[in-house]
């Protein structure tokens, strides 16, 4: 009896922009991996059939790079080299409605705070217990640790609050747990990052 071989999905995540965005990609890949889905960062072998583009929407040049990357992936889909193209991240958060009309070939658009929805697209569940579980995109001796999200400042030039929302700090317990996890994975250097560290430090100090 013939058995029909079923090709297993393999996901490639392409990350644009800053290290905060890279951490988001690492969290997404950690969640997909925990759900039994094969996932890579910037897969050079091109043996994947699904792409997630994690975009940047900060300034003109960054937006252009993100749009071009989406168009390249859409082209690959048109040529039959990809089954699905998904877009997430800051550009998508900021311009989703316009982009949906402009690039209808993209299968789904997600904002910066919609990780559970992305996972749903893969029939995967968001696993709360996996906080801090990431597939690192950096060499294994260093890693980024995001200690807060968003920004409450009102600098007149800055679009970041439009894309990342108001400031939310992680607790010291969460940060320590994540740092310990990274160290146990062999990380020697941790870079503390945030859109705005000062408010995070004030928050942490006030709590302790």
């Amino acid at each position: 009896m013939k058995t029909k071989s079923i090709k297993r999905d393999k996901v490639n995540i392409i990350t644009l922009g800053c290290s905060k965005n890279m951490v988001d990609s690492e969290v997404l890949s950690g969640q997909l991996n925990a759900n039994g889905i094969k996932v890579m960062h910037e897969n050079a072998k091109l043996d994947h059939n699904i792409v997630v583009v994690n975009t940047c929407g900060f300034i003109d040049k960054a937006k252009e790079e993100s749009v071009n990357t989406i168009l390249e992936q859409v082209e690959l889909k048109r040529d039959g080299k990809l089954d699905k193209v998904y877009v997430t991240g800051c550009l998508s958060e900021r311009y989703r409605n316009d982009l949906k009309n402009e690039i209808p070939e993209v299968d789904a658009w997600f904002g910066t705070m919609e990780l559970p929805l992305i996972l749903k697209q893969f029939n995967a569940d968001y696993k709360q217990e996996l906080v801090g579980e990431r597939l690192l995109a950096t060499p294994k001796h260093y890693a980024y640790l995001k200690i807060s999200e968003g920004c409450n400042r009102t600098c007149s030039f800055c679009a970041i609050p439009l894309m990342r929302g108001g400031h939310v700090s992680k607790t010291i317990e969460e940060i320590v747990a994540e740092a310990k996890k990274l160290v146990s994975m062999g990380v020697k250097e941790i870079m503390l990052i945030a859109q705005e560290l000062t408010t995070a430090w004030i928050f942490i100090k006030n709590v302790h």
Partner: protein, 208 residues
């Protein structure tokens, strides 16, 4: 650590940075501009003198700290005097590293209501002019490192040469240290490197 906000910066956290061996003496604090005219228009919640004082206070707390910052050139209404004030600031405070962006006029920010009056070429020219001041400073600061020995994290091997970073250099944005050695170095290990040569944005040295 990327990125701290200057206004309301909690100086006492720097005691921890100074006292703990395992925390890099490194702070990335985007200042964006220095003139009162620009700080006000950018809604930075700080005045010129306060920023000068903050840089002094940070250096008092952590002698030898590496201070990185980013700036914006060509914000609406930026005058020649504003540019000169920024250059003077860089010359006076001699930051360790500076990145500069040209102003990008972003919809739905409060500055979008201003007239983006500086032509793109002029923004680029100003950014270049400001960077040239800093390039000289970065070069001189790197020269001062010749003869010193630093603990270096071995990042990678490229074209047969090992590249690493000191605690004063963050990934991608800062100096790399070219490590001259005949030995095999494990990636992700720390080695002591005596600096023998220094360039604008890189260092070179040998294992001691």
């Amino acid at each position: 650590m990327h990125y701290a906000y200057p206004s309301k910066f909690p100086l006492d956290i720097l005691d921890v940075m100074r006292e703990r061996e395992n925390i890099c003496n490194y702070l990335d604090m985007p200042l964006q501009h220095i003139s009162d005219n620009m700080l006000k228009a950018m809604k930075r919640q700080m005045e010129t003198q306060e920023i000068y004082d903050l840089v002094d206070a940070i250096r008092d707390k952590v002698p030898g700290i590496c201070l990185r910052s980013t700036l914006i050139a060509g914000f609406p209404g930026e005058t020649r005097d504003d540019v000169e004030q920024l250059k003077t600031f860089l010359e006076k405070v001699r930051l360790d590293r500076v990145g500069i962006f040209t102003y990008s006029h972003e919809e739905n920010t409060s500055a979008y209501g201003l007239v983006d009056n500086i032509p793109a070429e002029e923004k680029e020219a100003r950014a270049q002019e400001i960077m040239e001041v800093q390039q000289e400073i970065s070069f001189e600061k790197n020269q001062e490192k010749i003869g010193n020995t630093y603990k270096v994290l071995v990042d990678k091997i490229e074209a047969g040469r090992y590249l690493g970073r000191t605690e004063f250099d963050s990934v991608e944005v800062d100096n790399e240290v070219i490590i001259n050695t005949d030995d095999e170095l494990p990636i992700g290990d720390f080695v002591n490197v005596k600096i023998t040569k220094a360039y604008d944005y890189d260092l070179e040295g040998e294992i001691v």
